[in-house]
């Protein structure tokens, strides 16, 4: 649309006064997710000023600092609460919450449930690397059963959280999963998520070689991408598989779509009904 392609586009959205390369480990998928997010925003032609990226704490939380949007790096697990306040204060803003799996599902699990229940018009991006990376590789709620971590040296005893089912049950409008290997699909998902009303959740599977892979038989970052390539399967095809064939497969794609109005739309509609005044515009 403006002559630029590929990473030339991405470079237009990076903060040039920040130090690159970024802090993330070699081969970390988080950079790929960030690139995908940028391309999605670019594809939708959303002005930079209208984007607010609200990040939590952890490796994913560090991404916000690199992009030239309004960026808010919040406290651990609370990104969605800040995002909710921002969206309600100014519904014109496009609010994106960037969280890790520990961030979104463990310490912030309650906020995730209630953001989905309200169906607040926020796009939640959960970067799932199955581990607490920044703090040194402790178990997260997304760590697979049997995996070895710093806090589960004898193997994880519980099952990993099913983010999709959680969001479905809580009332989100849109839930999808992608991986950093299947980037074009992930981009398609993100573009749809950003364009929809209500609460959208995109789970991006992004491997952590440093803290997770090395302890779980993935010798190099490349091994983890090979694993993604091998195990991911379109959700439609996954549904057709017999139960015994599903073992070890990772369904990706759009799990469901609903069209309920976002909380902010319902709130401002209520206000309008009460006061006869139109919904508040942007505060510019």
């Amino acid at each position: 649309m403006n002559g630029l392609t590929g990473n030339d586009v991405i470079h237009q959205y990076l903060r040039h006064n920040k130090k690159f390369p970024h802090v993330l480990c070699p081969g970390c998928g988080h950079g790929i997710v960030l690139g995908t997010l940028i391309r999605s925003i670019h594809a939708l032609s959303i002005p930079k000023d209208d984007i607010v990226v609200v990040a939590g704490i952890g490796c994913s939380g560090r991404l916000a600092v690199y992009v030239d949007f309004n960026t808010v790096h919040t406290t651990h697990g609370r990104a969605l609460t800040f995002a909710t306040g921002i969206k309600m204060a100014n519904p014109k803003l496009k609010v994106i919450a960037l969280m890790g799996d520990g961030d979104a599902l463990s310490i912030g699990g309650n906020h995730l449930i209630h953001a989905a229940r309200r169906n607040i018009g926020v796009t939640a991006l959960v970067l799932n690397n199955s581990i607490y990376g920044m703090t040194g590789g402790q178990s997260s709620p997304a760590t697979p059963e049997g995996a070895t971590t710093m806090t589960n040296p004898y193997g994880q005893l519980d099952k990993a959280f099913d983010t999709v089912e959680l969001a479905r049950g809580a009332g989100a409008n849109y839930v999808a999963r992608g991986t950093v290997f299947h980037v074009k699909k992930l981009e398609k998902i993100m573009i749809e998520a950003l364009g929809r009303p209500g609460f959208s959740l995109v789970e991006a599977i992004t491997p952590c070689h440093t803290q997770y892979g090395r302890k779980n038989k993935f010798k190099t970052p490349v091994d983890m991408y090979q694993w993604l390539k091998k195990s991911a399967i379109d959700v439609e095809r996954y549904e057709e598989l017999a139960d015994d064939k599903r073992e070890g497969r990772l369904p990706i794609g759009v799990f469901f779509r609903r069209d309920r109005n976002g909380y902010e739309e319902r709130y401002y509609a209520m206000k309008e009904a009460l006061t006869g005044k139109g919904a508040k515009g942007g505060r510019k």
């Binding site: 403006n2 630029l4 590929g6 032609s45 991408y225």
Partner: protein, 89 residues
């Protein structure tokens, strides 16, 4: 289709940004890259590039740029800033 593109692209790796993770070298269908002696991705077979875009999409560090050989006319910042937004609050 892809073969028709062969030899029509330039591939640049910014070594300062490359961390040498090896994703590009591993997955490039035309084996354009190798990890060089300094642990960075190096373009070794540029003429084989089919401009599939995989390396650009999958480079976690935004360190690879693939461009058409035909000169790009304009390179100015065309990212969509909101018109008139820079006026202050």
């Amino acid at each position: 289709m892809a073969h028709q593109k062969k030899g029509k692209s330039t591939v640049t790796v910014y070594p300062d940004w490359c961390k040498g993770c090896g994703i590009c070298a591993e997955f490039c269908p035309s084996k354009v890259f190798e990890i060089g002696e300094h642990g960075k991705a190096t373009v070794v077979r540029e003429k084989d590039c089919i401009h599939c875009g995989f390396c650009e999409l999958h480079c976690p560090d935004f360190a690879i740029v693939v461009r058409d050989k035909s000169p790009v006319a304009e390179m100015e910042d065309t990212a969509p800033d909101k018109p008139g937004a820079k006026k202050g609050a």
